[in-house]
Symmetry: C2
Subunit: 238 residues, 2 copies
């Protein structure tokens, strides 16, 4: 089992200029891969804030994914901020410089060459058919903010994050949360390897509560689900 | 000018069982109110994690909004976690207990009464036509996770967060980011009170770059926008 954090870097999300599409994409992909997402944070284009968050997440999670803030303009500060997080200098990577000079020709100015900069010690991952490799600093994979580009680059490297997917059972009950709370507390105690969530759906008539049970242990999941169904007079969703 | 952070508490978001609707709602509302949103974080139903995040955000921002984890079941840990953040006990609030007993009658069991618990020292805000007041601990307003309820409760108290809204200008250019990077760096330096964002839109043909300029100072915004338009050969969106 591996754990992950997602850091969305962008004033444009916090200010509502763009709605974030990257977190929903990464949530779904990480879930399918069996990688446990433990934190999503959206922060502004501020080097100290980014460095602080990257340092903390890198220490706490197996994998960290940043999105946004990579490019040639003044508001693209992700690379120097990640270098700051790990207390290393920013260096121009010869392989990236070569790609940019080949692609842009005479238009390859100093601003464009900022896209060849990486934190010192970063790796380049060339998986898949991508024209530009993924820059990875220790356990921090640095993705672009443009959703179509992020998807392309994530899917190229997704195989590196493959784990054991989580099994889920969904149970519906017409009882109220106060009525079933004790039964859920007991089940959560008896099967510590099963995570139980309780979600009242007030928008349904009659009101129902959706219970989700999740585990990587199929036998524990089935036993716990059976007990919960009996205790809350529930029915399992097919 | 006031600043805000949003803390989304919920395993169900991180695991993709539900997509979060509360962050987009709060982003739009805070923007319209003129309250500067500086951080959004999505964290699991874990008391230590919640307490740590609440303590940090409460110290750093003027206003903190939590969503989720309030209710009668074992996975509802927001109230004790916020108490932990401020190192105070959880107490049963008489006014909340009275509402629950009146509403639920004989069905008002110990689990239901968990919804009457607050961090010691919390205030109740009775604004608007809500049946149940908002619980606020210092600068932390504690909202439910159910989107329809959150909206109702937020709109009832929104007037307390009214500030001075930000003005925005949008400029489009056909030039590439490397070509315009220097001009933007200069403008950002000359008008420090104007925030300039640059967003390439590769999905448009021909490729365009959207520039956004934002400030609470109308004169500075107009001057800076005029300079940027000249420098990048841009056009201002009406």
């Amino acid at each position: 089992m591996s754990t992950a954090a997602v850091i969305i870097i962008g004033n444009e999300i916090l200010s509502g200029k763009f709605s974030d599409e990257n977190a929903p994409f990464l949530i779904a992909r990480l879930r399918a891969l069996g990688c446990d997402l433990g934190r999503i944070v959206v922060i502004p284009d501020d080097p100290q804030t980014i460095a602080h968050e990257v340092r903390a997440c890198s220490a706490q999670f197996d994998h960290v994914f940043t999105t946004g803030g990579v490019g040639p303009t003044h508001d693209d500060v992700t690379i120097p901020s990640i270098a700051l997080a790990f207390d290393v200098p920013v260096v121009r990577h010869p392989a990236l410089e070569a790609i940019l000079r080949r692609k842009l020709g005479d238009a390859c100015n100093d601003a464009a060459l900022r896209m060849a900069e990486v934190p010192d010690g970063a790796e380049l991952w060339w998986d898949g058919e991508v024209r530009f490799p993924l820059v990875v600093m220790r356990n921090v994979a640095i993705f672009p903010g443009v959703p179509a580009l992020l998807r392309l680059k994530f899917d190229a490297v997704a195989h590196r994050y493959q784990g054991v997917p989580i099994l889920t059972a969904r149970v519906w009950t017409l009882r109220t949360e106060p009525e079933i709370a004790d039964a859920l507390t007991d089940a959560a105690r008896d099967w510590p390897g099963v995570a139980i969530g309780s979600y009242p759906r007030f928008e349904l008539t009659p009101h129902k509560v959706l219970l989700t049970l999740e585990s990587r242990d199929a036998e524990a999941l089935d036993q716990c689900t059976q007990r919960v169904i009996e205790q809350v007079d529930g029915s399992r969703e097919a």
